[in-house]
Subunit: 654 residues, 2 copies
């Protein structure tokens, strides 16, 4: 083949391939198969459809692109480098090295142009639902005829792994139900998984299935740029349903000895096979050499700046035509979520799930782009935004999202809405079902985004539903996730602190953990001044140096207060510790002033004792599964009584 016979499209596609496999080979680690097979579809999206601006990766109305099959990260880094993002060749050459901007799987907080962290399969497609939902909500709220301020597509490249994962299937079902017409998944159907042919484990009729889920379905030759292009045009034209394009590809295309096999999935080609592959693709042998014509054709910077210019001009005219809306829009664009002027409710001795609801309603009134919902437990978790509509194709203004009994896709969608920008989102379920969405919670923490999760029914105190529904180890499990605030408030005022911290957070997700049962009011400071903002604080003190420190969280704080009262002759201090992570981040002097190291201490939490050894000498908790029975009886049964705390204290002090 002479260079003259190669079209510019082909040259570009092969340039993407070559850069990707060079990066994998230099790292001696990574996945060459996906970039070789999926380069044509990626090129079709990025060159012919994606409206983006490499010089302004955060432009709010950009089309979003998510590589759900994150193991093909080399493909994404090649695209970002070649289209002109701030990702120099030296970074591509440092693929998979400590401190580089090209980690093994994409990470949004590290690399400009990466929309989200992907790699754990299913997360990309599930999160994409949130992106598309945020776009639809913002468009419904702010767009006016001839003023499409929010108007973009969300494109995804996904793999069979994404489609097999439960979270991905939940997301497909949810997107179909919601009728997200601007969501487009391109399925890189290469017939190969790590263990061999996909047939051994995956025999669905994917097209028929997605039709049944309410999707617009097309099947194309994924190696044909023009065919993918045409399918993308049809997908964009279909506005009532999300689209999936099933694109048949050859994994490792170009590799003479490995293409079409699982050998090319997850290991470098090797020097010799790399040479042969480049030869077959008509690429220069020299590593990281990019044909000039391809480089010029792929550079998207000028086009991006033109997009932004058009949008900025639209925005200027919008401001003139709709001054009130524009003021609201500008607040949204500023991405500030300052809670100081929120009209917080008065708090009563109710369950913290109800206090949480009061806070949420106050916040929803204050912030028009705070949206969310629950996994079919709106009336139990108390997440319903009264009178604010149910999000659907018919009512895209609806601020309540019925995620269905799909906790995992809910958490991923909350992440997507949050990542999109312009909106903040919450998702609620019972604390026990945080287990169902843990991977997405973890990803929120890793991605450094302020997703909000509301988990009610937080202990055996929920009662009769029994051990399948009673959290024991979940609070510790959440606390152990790096960069996640887990806040278990003791009463209404602490609940308002939890919500304030959650909204004000910029780079850390929050889990708010609430009770099913009523709890007495024990504090009354306003959220901006409340000492709970320190994570842990002295709620009630004795005269002088205490003899004993009782540390408690949530529903056990009032128990600690009662026990302190009952401990006659003992100078007891009660510490409320709604968030251990924030407490850990306080200055040492503060921490030592709250938990005086030399004073005996007891922690009380209706959950596993494991982990509390960090803060207390003796732990009152529950290290077995719970049981079915009325909540108050269970609390007694498992030792959450004044008598037990008093006895434990007397034993410790003697």
């Amino acid at each position: 083949m002479t260079p003259a016979a190669v079209s510019l499209d082909e040259l570009c596609v092969n340039a993407i391939r070559g850069l990707s496999i060079d990066a994998v080979q230099k790292a001696n680690s990574g996945h060459p198969g996906l970039p070789l097979g999926a380069a044509p579809m990626a090129y079709a999206i990025w060159k012919r459809h994606l409206r983006h601006a490499p010089s302004q990766p955060q432009w709010l109305n950009r089309d979003r692109f998510i590589l759900s099959a994150g193991h093909g990260s080399a493909l994404l880094y090649s695209l970002l480098h070649l289209t002109g993002y701030d990702l120099p060749l030296s970074e591509v050459q440092a693929f998979r090295q400590i401190g580089s901007k090209t980690p093994g799987h994409p990470e949004n907080h590290i690399t400009p142009g990466v929309e989200m962290a992907t790699g754990p399969l299913g997360q990309g497609i599930a999160t994409s639902v949130g992106f598309a939902l945020a776009e639809r909500y913002l468009a419904a709220r702010f767009n006016r005829p001839e003023f499409p301020i929010f108007d973009h597509f969300t494109y995804v490249i996904c793999s069979d792994g994404d489609l097999m994962e439960g979270v991905g299937q939940e997301a497909a079902s949810l997107a179909g139900t919601l009728g997200l017409g601007k969501l487009i998944w391109v399925y890189d159907s290469n017939g190969i998984t790590i263990d061999g042919s996909t047939d051994i484990a995956y025999r669905e009729d994917v097209a028929a299935k997605f039709s049944a889920l309410g999707w617009h379905v097309q099947s194309v030759d994924g190696m044909d740029v023009d065919a993918v292009d045409r399918a993308l045009q049809s997908a964009k034209a279909e506005t009532a349903r999300p689209s999936i394009i099933i694109a048949t590809t050859i994994i490792g295309f170009g590799s003479p000895n490995k293409a079409g096999t699982s050998k090319v999935h997850g290991a470098p080609l090797g020097e010799e096979e790399l040479r042969l592959t480049k030869e077959a693709l008509g690429l220069p042998a020299e590593p990281f050499s990019i044909p000039n014509d391809a480089r010029a054709a792929l550079d998207a910077r000028a086009a991006g700046e033109a997009h932004i210019e058009v949008w900025d001009s639209l925005l200027t005219r919008y401001r003139a035509n709709f001054p009130e809306l524009a003021a609201e829009l500008d607040q949204v664009l500023s991405e500030t979520w300052d809670c100081t002027s929120v009209a917080w409710p008065e708090f009563k001795s109710v369950a913290t799930r109800k206090s949480s609801h009061d806070c949420l309603l106050a916040l929803a009134n204050h912030f028009p782009t705070l949206i969310g919902g629950s996994a079919d437990l709106a009336e139990s978790v108390y997440t319903d935004l009264h009178g604010m509509g149910l999000q659907s194709a018919q009512d895209p203004n609806g601020r309540n999202i019925a995620f269905g009994i799909r906790e995992h896709a809910m958490a991923a969608a909350v992440n997507g809405i949050t990542l999109h920008g312009g909106c903040r989102a919450f998702g609620g379920t019972f604390l026990i079902f945080s287990d169902y969405c843990k991977p997405s919670i973890r990803l929120a923490a890793l991605m450094e985004i302020p997703s909000i999760f509301v988990f009610s029914h937080d202990s055996i105190g929920l009662g009769e539903d029994g051990p399948t529904h009673q959290p024991v180890e979940q609070i510790l499990g959440l606390r152990s996730i790096p960069n996640l605030n887990v806040i278990r408030p003791a009463d209404g005022a602490e609940t308002a602190v939890a919500w304030s911290l959650a909204l004000e957070s910029e780079d850390r997700p929050t889990a708010i953990v609430t009770s099913r049962q009523n709890l007495p009011v024990v504090t009354n400071e306003a959220p901006a001044e409340h000492p709970a903002r320190n994570g842990g604080y002295v709620l009630q003190d004795s005269d002088g140096v205490p003899d004993l420190i009782l540390i408690a969280t949530g529903s056990e704080v009032s128990l600690a207060l009662q026990a302190a009262e009952a401990l006659e002759g003992v100078n007891s201090r009660v510490v409320s510790m709604p968030c251990t992570r924030i407490f850990d981040e306080q200055p040492e002097a503060y921490r030592n002033s709250v938990l005086i190291p030399s004073i005996p201490s007891i922690s009380i939490e209706a959950a596993t004792t494991l982990g509390w050894q960090k803060y207390s000498d003796v732990q009152i908790g529950i290290d077995t599964f719970g049981a079915s029975g009325p909540g108050p009886k269970l609390m007694e049964h498992f030792g959450f009584t004044v008598a037990n705390v008093v006895e434990t204290a007397r034993n410790l002090l003697s």
Copy 2:
């Protein structure tokens, strides 16, 4: 309506309904809607199809029945009581009370006749795949023409919540791929969820979807016993594909003011509505009164004993005809998994994932009904049973199960195989993806069954794949689950201990956590005598009382040994702690002899430090996310070096 007009079928169905709603009302807690709507389908299954023996609930060839919609537990307890299981009326009357045999959601280890714990949605249907798989494997291995030793169906009643959950969708896809012809799901399609009409969140064409997944699909009137009966007959006749019967029902049927609404889903009817409902159903007003004709008709004890008699006689003839097979079968029936005569391999300085593979192969050779597989990572996690076939409809003898990229359904299926009896099962994936299957792991622990989970790539040591793939908090998270052994072996010999303990366990699941990277041999005792059986033990000691105790697990044990060597002038003890739970269960004297309370100690584990405060004064670990880079460089970067341990020790001792 006069009593004469009521058929016996109707009388029985209403007796089931009445008992269920009385139990809910007496508890003043529970879910009346499902029992009222699903009683006809339950009656059709239990009266006309289910081959079971109430007097011998553990009969191995019984049909299995799983109430996946576990919130309808009152229905199941009614069925168990009325068909003659050891569940007296007094227990039904103690519904949802502490210590009763009728907890809020079904629990197999508490109630005779309950096959598994259900309640967390999706788990029942997903676990049912394992039941059906175990039956097919055992039948393939042991049955001979005219000797159907293993020959039973697995029936499930499920709800829309089950079908929405990701784990349920994974299971549906897996069952279709595997062609499990004796698996029958009856979907109680009542159009109502907690938050209202299912339409708001669930608009799939369920029939078309299941067809696309390779299922046999029927739609029937779920209120019509005969219609359900006929559909069950067709489902049983279809042997190549699993069957789903979409049965349209009216939630809360009979309740004049609440039927067909979400009000009847999860709260008692109330005394007045209960009275009206019973009146509408033609039932006596008196609580817990059961018409004699219904009681007589539903009693299944005599029929059950006849089933067993037939089977026992078949077994006797089988033993005579196939003495060799019968010997193997008898061993299987005895459910003993004694590892003392296993031909363990010799261990080398390889990754513990490879040592684990050697152990697994030795065990698979020894135990013919040990089966399992991985979530598309057989060659990375090392779970492949070489030459033992791939389980499929075409090769039901296959002992390797390709679960696909469906970790959650894998774990649930492993539970199902284990619960079935006759088999033991394992499932493998990367440790990070234990997050994807946590709810099923927890359920195994709650159900007190010895499922085996193999989790490789257990730390940042896995290298370039980066933080999305690097476990940090997962080991702690697993350790915090009550009744789960988490074993992180330091070398091959400890890995053999882990596998021994896993197989020998009768009522506790095990997670075996292995390294991707090579580890040196540090111990060589045979598994039956290895001190690792104590959970933690002194691996290397100093002369006399130590100055310092270094505690480590897995890949960090060899680091501790090197550090002890480098700590000149310090009498250092090295403790290997592969399983904290087993260590915690040792006598206090033993524990204090290993971790001498007065001696300064440092724990070293390439994972979160949280939790280690229980055992050590100072912790070396990683409390942030990992990073992408070569494994050895990451270990250095995060402080897992001799120099850092030595410095930490010197600081502690000074």
